[in-house]
């Protein structure tokens, strides 16, 4: 383990400690409810960071798995006794759906922007479909799908064996942050295995990997399915923090995830999580600026748009890699030696698929 890795783990540990110990004892409930929403979105960002940043699969429709898991959780939770079981089913459903879709795409040799379009379209199909289920004929067991309004009665997770004592928002918060941390560790570990290295090799040069005897389709399918499962975990937690609605599948949600990953730093895991937290906080803050009756001066769209454009133009590698490069350069300067090139630190932009 290099010094840099150790430092990274230390920082992640410190952040986790802060989020899991300092925030709950501080007791500000608003922070915790916002925190659980942010954490569930951050898990979604993490899933895209995995399959796009490390496997080079550009999925524009990652929210499809997020929303699907949310809906499966809500429907199963309303029909079954046990919400934890519903959560497991939901994550399995997201993974299974990702596997199916992945099989459909990778065995069809679809790549690049075409793959992006297919995933986005699938997400939009789900969005359109769920959006038109307001009629009462769209009821699955005890769960009305609710159309545009979603399912406000989405059940809250309860500990196994105590279905009548659902978790409080504070507990959901701890659960969400814990899940985020667990998913982060899983992603890190997955990339450290032989399988992970093969996936990165395929991203770097698919043809070469194939000539070396790897069935690239299987590797891509594997990582895509893992990404779907992680997005599903995010979806279940989101369902517990707010409730499920078609918005989970929408173009905006899909767009936001991509923005978080890019702003935070493609090719890293912590970057997209940071990007997600920063931009979500920005959007929440913009909405609570009381501009009084009349127009909002700082239109949320305007601010987000300018931030995104400037990030793409100015920070080619995203916040985290840029900050790391800057840090190392400063460190090197302090030591009086030449800093290492930026290319070694993050993923160079040229490698973006």
């Amino acid at each position: 383990m290099t010094l840099r890795d150790a430092l990274g783990w230390l920082l992640v540990g410190a952040a986790a400690l802060y989020a899991l110990v300092a925030v709950p004892t501080g007791g500000e409930l608003t922070t915790m409810i916002n925190g659980s929403i942010y954490a569930s979105y951050a898990i979604l960002a993490l899933s895209l960071a995995l399959i796009w940043g490390y496997a080079g699969i550009l999925s524009f429709g990652q929210a499809a798995f997020f929303g699907l898991a949310g809906y499966v959780y809500a429907v199963a939770g309303l029909n079954l006794e046990s919400t934890p079981l519903a959560a497991v089913i939901a994550v399995a459903a997201a993974a299974g759906f990702a596997a199916l879709l992945g099989y459909f795409m990778f065995w069809g040799r679809i790549s690049d922007v075409y793959l992006g379009v297919i995933t986005l379209t699938v997400s939009l199909i789900l969005y359109r479909f769920i959006n038109q289920t307001a009629g009462e004929e769209w009821t699955i067991g005890a769960a009305p799908l609710g159309g545009f309004n979603g399912i406000p009665s989405t059940p809250i997770l309860a500990p196994p064996g105590h279905p009548d004592e659902p978790f409080l928002p504070e507990q959901i918060y701890v659960l969400a942050v814990g899940a985020l941390l667990a998913c982060y560790v899983i992603c890190k570990l997955a990339m450290a295995t032989r399988f992970g290295r093969a996936v990165v090799a395929i991203r770097e040069n698919e043809g070469r990997a194939e000539l070396l005897g790897y069935d690239t389709r299987r590797y891509k399918l594997g990582i895509f399915t893992l990404g779907g499962a992680i997005a599903g975990v995010g979806g279940v937690l989101f369902a517990n923090s707010v409730f499920v609605s078609p918005n989970m599948f929408s173009l905006q949600t899909n767009g936001q995830v991509i923005i978080w990953v890019i702003v935070g730093g493609l090719g890293t895991f912590a970057g997209p999580v940071i990007g997600c937290f920063l931009l979500m906080a920005l959007s929440t803050w913009l909405g609570s600026l009381d501009a009084g009756p009349g127009f909002a001066v700082l239109d949320p769209n305007l601010v987000m748009g300018v931030v995104l454009t400037l990030c793409v133009l100015g920070l080619r590698q995203g916040l985290l890699p840029t900050a790391l490069a800057l840090g190392e350069r400063l460190l090197a300067k302090a030591r009086g030696t030449r800093g290492r090139g930026a290319a070694e630190l993050g993923q160079p932009a040229e490698e973006r698929p």
Binding site: R128, L251, I258, D299, V312, R352
Partner: protein, 288 residues
Amino acid sequence: MDYALIVILQLVVTIANLALISAGLAVIFGMMRIINMAHGEFLMLGGYAALVSHQAGLNLWLAIFVAAPVTVGLIGAVLERLVIRRLYGRMIDTMLATWGVSLALVGVVTVIFGNRVSGISPPLGSVPIGGYAIGLYELLTAGVTALLFLGGWIVLRRTPVGLIARGAMQNREMAAALGVDPARVYATTFVTGAAISGLAGALIAPITGVAPSIGSVYIAKAFITVISGGTAILTGALSASALLGSVNTAFSFVMTPVLGEVALLAAAVLLLRVLPRGITGRFFRRSL
């Protein structure tokens, strides 16, 4: 009989509409291999340009056919200078940057005009067909779309500019080696694409009205149509519009408009599975 005629007319209008909203995006994708995510906002700006100039006293037709394309073309030129030029060759970055531009444009227009639907009443009235009627303006829109594609074909086939454009489309390096300045070709293409989007936006504005966020209604559809069509500008956009538009209309009539949309999307997914490079990646490969 009347019913059959009205269904066919509706089909033509739907296909033309799809082709019209995709045209500007197709030009930019076909020539530059970049996806302009601010395309929906170009349409929206075209609508506003026509609306504002018409309210300022300009003749409606001049507002639609002159004011809108010129305004949006100029906006396109500015964006090309400020954003697109810096990102050539980085497809995904361009997409994300234009996405940012798209959000910012929605924001700017909201601040200026407020988030409300405004509109011009569609001119021309309607033609009765037996017990039915269809708006003349809608038919006119279909006619203009046909002319637009015909004009595009003539320009690409018969003019020196078209020759350069075709050369750049087929082999950029070779064109550059032969002395065609790629930066100029790209700038011209982007401005042309923006102007066409402006015209399209102005044309559909009387039918749908304009609102700052209206671009998001179109962007996914246009994006999917262009990618399904592949890189040939005219044939790609036209064949994909015809296919997807037919599926949409058929399902809208037999079932509901929503399932029509779902069918359109599903058709695009299946199409890309069978033809991973779009329709013109497989058929009509030598076409424009």
